[in-house]
Subunit: 319 residues, 2 copies
């Protein structure tokens, strides 16, 4: 009797939560709460090492890891896990790994031998504080440690599944993914391009990690093959929408708003969507990508509501 | 009858092989054959990408990966796997990952913002050929791809075991291992030190990856806990012996012999064993470490003979 009343209460509370998600869902609260959760997991993954002889390394790693990122990739991993009915805790290690990899890529991108940027998220870049050698090593360590954190986060996840998620994340971040995209970007600076080439570049440079976040989260949540395909469509559309919006913001926003140098694409002869198709067309393209992302989620029902809202947010954000 | 004759033949052939390993074993032939095997696996792991728009990246990665390294870490992984009765093929993915990680660390170490070296293995360093940006990215990609190769090499290996090997390798290469050691090395340049501090530095900077090679190979080969402990002792002694010999060679050898700049430790005010204890004492220390490595292998019998010979070779080498 007791048991039954209890589980009835639990079921009805779950049903209420599921039913209310659409009407009561406030994205900003949701993102804030998820950010807190992810930052607490990141703090566990990379604690302070004040007594260690390599303390300066950990300080440099933490400087960039806790510089106020939006944590969009981890948020996507957790939301994708839940969109297929999984407990989000199963994707928390993946979320940390994604953010550590994203952070390393920004530290290395900002180096003098790369983009040579002084400002990131309104603060001096890593090498401006710690020097080029330490920034290089802090990036190397964040990338390496990401795989340690992920490989040790398999609580409740079948080990064979975790191995696939690790391999897919490494593929997305490595020579065939993010790093490959960065190389194509550097090599094609100042060259004539078209939207097909630009889309290919971004599918690697930024898209691959977004896709790995969505697919990895979904796999850890126990996605079926059709669910994984739908979410992959969503991830691809979302990743590109994010990049198109980034290009638009580089033209429209000020350095103060963005917390990093803007208008730099044009000055470097980098191909961008606004340069190729104009600003109005670029906005239109971003909106059509969000529609594509939404339509990929149709069969996933209410549980995918956070993913829908995130897609809209990605093109409506102003930073 | 047939079956029994066949398995008798197999057993007697195995017994012959085991018995003959000590007397007939020629280390140079063994190392040459293992090198070939490892390089063939590396070529499969990182094929040429002539048609790709990131072809230059793969060229840069392959330039350093196939620059004629001794492949000592992969050789150790395979030999440790066999020392506990495992098929060496099970450790081949780990061997590739170790060599890719070792190669990335050399590319980044040679960068102008780090050691600023022009020569490595008798050839121009990566950034001298490809530029600093591409060298940074080639290192990043080798490190990332290493985990892809390892996570996908689990043929016949229980997935849970492979996860532990991945985590241990990442730990050995990351902030608590190789990268941490590199930071301590940089920060302690020109500072007073003692042998205890120097041993701690090297246990991280070079020792951790040697230990991960030996322990990872042994685990993949199905090591028991006592076997793993013995092999860990071996790996620790061997890693330090390798470093002490490196320090000695930096003093004794010429740039022509080593294929890289020598006498550079002293000019940078880096603490070394010869500087701390003198050349003769350093040789003695290296020999005592080999004796410690040999003694750790006693209970492992004939199958550990290659590991014994490798330990002797590591301090007797002249490059």
């Amino acid at each position: 009797m007791m048991q039954s009343a209890k589980s009835n209460r639990a079921i009805s509370s779950y049903a209420r939560a599921a039913a209310s998600i659409k009407s009561d869902f406030v994205l900003s609260d949701y993102l804030k709460e998820r950010c807190r959760l992810i930052e607490s997991a990141l703090a566990d993954a990379l604690p302070e090492h004040t007594g260690s002889s390599a303390a300066r390394l950990f300080e440099a790693m933490r400087y960039s890891l806790f510089a106020g990122g939006k944590r969009i990739r981890p948020v996507l991993a957790l939301a994708s896990c839940e969109a297929v009915g999984g407990r989000m805790e199963r994707a928390l290690g993946l979320g940390c790994a994604l953010e550590m990899i994203h952070t390393y890529s920004m530290i290395h991108d900002d180096l003098p031998c790369m983009d040579d940027d002084d400002l990131r998220r309104g603060k001096p870049t890593n090498h401006k504080i710690y020097g080029d050698a330490m920034a290089t090593l802090a990036g190397d360590a964040l990338l390496t440690d990401a795989f340690k954190v992920l490989a040790r986060s398999c609580d409740g996840v079948p080990p064979a599944l975790m191995l696939e998620v690790i391999a897919e994340l490494a593929e997305a971040a490595g020579s065939d993914g993010m790093v490959g995209g960065q190389v194509i970007d550097i090599l094609s600076e100042g060259e004539a391009t078209d939207t097909a080439k630009l889309e290919y570049l971004h599918s690697k440079k930024t898209g691959a990690l977004f896709l790995a976040a969505v697919r990895g989260g979904a796999r850890l949540g126990g996605a079926t093959k059709p669910q994984l395909e739908k979410l992959s469509d969503y991830g691809r559309a979302l990743g590109l929408a994010f990049q198109v919006t980034d290009d638009i913001l580089d033209v429209e926003a000020s350095t103060e708003q963005m917390g990093k140098r803007t208008h730099k694409d044009e000055s470097r002869g980098k191909a961008t969507y606004p340069a190729l198709m104009g600003l109005e067309q670029s906005h239109e393209f971003a909106r059509s990508l969000v529609a594509r992302a939404h339509s990929a989620l149709t069969s996933l029902g209410e549980r995918a509501e956070p993913l829908r809202r995130i897609a809209s947010y990605v093109v409506e954000r102003n930073l």
